[in-house]
Amino acid sequence: MTDEEVKVAVLKALASVAPELNEAALVPDKSFRDQLDIDSMDFLNYVIALHETFRIDIPEADQRLLDTIESAVDYLRRRSARASTARG
């Protein structure tokens, strides 16, 4: 997956819990929990959506890496590359 494809998937997962989000207004390296006022339940649902899309397990300790667009793209690209190597 390219970075752009991962980013689209991240935004889609985010839109599933915050349909009102305005992509253009999101600051990529700032926590969107603050920007979108997302609570722990919405954040869990967002992580579950990513888990289902990328078919990878996401340990609780790694969840903080999914908190900005930039770090989420970075984490998911690394994890999905590793998962596809393992599968291949």
């Binding site: 839109a15 609570d39 339940m41 649902n45 992580v47």
Partner: protein, 362 residues
């Protein structure tokens, strides 16, 4: 809430219904609500029409219990409408045109979970536009209406209920460490949030302190047999809703977590049930991890108590071995002095705190 507009019937005359079945959807100031039946039987007649405004308590349908004679047609009362607006002009969906939708409309439909097949397009040549998709999405609650409902309930609460307030600081380190270890064994989708432990601790403590679980109606307290904890859920666009988790004391932690996830999702996307909104026997409110240390909640009448959870914070805490940084929470209680006193309220709050020290027993 005084009235609602019938959006659609989900059952037809002649169909059998069981207690708890959803038979209709009504749009209210609290959003779209699913109406459940409280009696099993067969639907004899649907009295209300979609689009009709109905007062709370108005008869909507006639359900014949097993063994009862059918109601003669002429005995069926005409539905007294509060307001009977002419039905809105809705273009009919035309088969074959569902393939004609703009890319933006398709994307929005996927986001909203709306099927393009059921939408009548108003664009050129009947194409489905973004506006058509948004118009077909389940109605979002009216926030001005919701603010009015909250305002009326809170004004009544502050006018009628002699509140007293108590607070208690609780060390959560043991419970949080236990939960972190538990969650290591679980997949993402089965993970439990700490809020579920708080709700379970409140529900179990209520078994010993029934004077905080029930309603103050017609001048006296009526305790409730079931422990139905209302969960205050804030809506990002504004407003607040507090649907119930039924029999929260009898649910396992994973079961309670599943109910909580489902409830939050439906509160924010629509699809709450009438019973969930009408029968919480106590409310719990949390300002979440981004909130303040302490919340001083206001009782939702006719309930008689509300428990508040502040944000979990790391603070210095004196233990047997000295001073440690531990994660703590401030529990608060607002209760009705017509029903209970501070002494019992304090014991109830301490009982919640004690339950949280033994998370494996929740």
């Amino acid at each position: 809430m005084e009235a609602g507009v019938l959006v659609e019937w989900l059952k037809k005359p002649g169909e059998r219904v069981a207690r708890g079945d959803v038979i209709a959807v009504v749009e209210t100031q609290k959003g779209a609500i699913e109406i459940e039946v409280f009696q099993a039987g067969t639907i004899d007649a649907l009295l209300a029409q979609p689009g009709q405004k109905l007062a709370v308590g108005a008869a909507m349908a006639i359900i014949r219990a097993d063994g009862e004679e059918p109601v003669p047609r002429e005995a069926v009362p005409a539905m007294p409408a509060v307001v009977a607006p002419s039905p809105p002009a809705v273009p009919l969906a035309r088969p074959g045109l569902e393939g004609r939708a703009s890319p933006a409309a398709r994307r929005r439909a996927a986001e909203l979970g709306v099927s393009l097949g059921g939408i009548a397009g108003t664009g050129p040549g009947g194409a489905i536009s973004l506006a058509d998709v948004e118009a077909a999405a389940p109605a979002a609650p009216s926030f001005a209406g919701m603010r009015e409902v909250i305002g009326a309930a809170m004004a009544r609460s502050k006018r009628e209920i002699p509140h007293y307030y108590l607070g208690h600081t609780v060390d959560l380190e043991t419970a949080l460490r236990w939960l972190e270890t538990e969650n290591l064994k679980r997949s993402v989708a089965e993970r439990i949030l700490f809020g579920a432990l708080l709700l379970k601790a409140v529900a179990l403590a209520l078994r010993t302190y029934p004077e905080f679980n029930g309603f103050h109606v017609e001048g006296k307290f009526k305790p409730s047999e079931g422990i139905h904890v209302g969960v205050a859920i804030s809506l990002r666009q504004g407003g607040l809703i507090a649907p119930a988790i039924h029999d929260a004391d009898r649910l396992s932690l994973p079961g309670l977590m599943a109910s909580l996830r489902d409830l939050v999702r439906r509160a924010r996307c629509g699809g709450l049930r009438s019973s969930e909104l009408s029968d919480p026997t106590i409310t719990a409110t949390s300002l979440g991890e981004q909130g303040t240390d302490i919340v001083f909640p206001v009782i939702y009448p006719p309930q008689v108590a509300i428990v508040g959870f502040g944000a979990i914070a790391r603070r210095p805490w004196v233990t047997d071995s000295g001073i440690e940084a531990r994660r703590i929470i401030f529990l608060s209680l607002a209760a009705d002095h017509r029903v209970s006193d501070g002494h019992r309220g304090g014991r109830f709050l301490r009982a919640v705190a004690e339950r949280l020290q033994e998370p494996q027993a929740l």
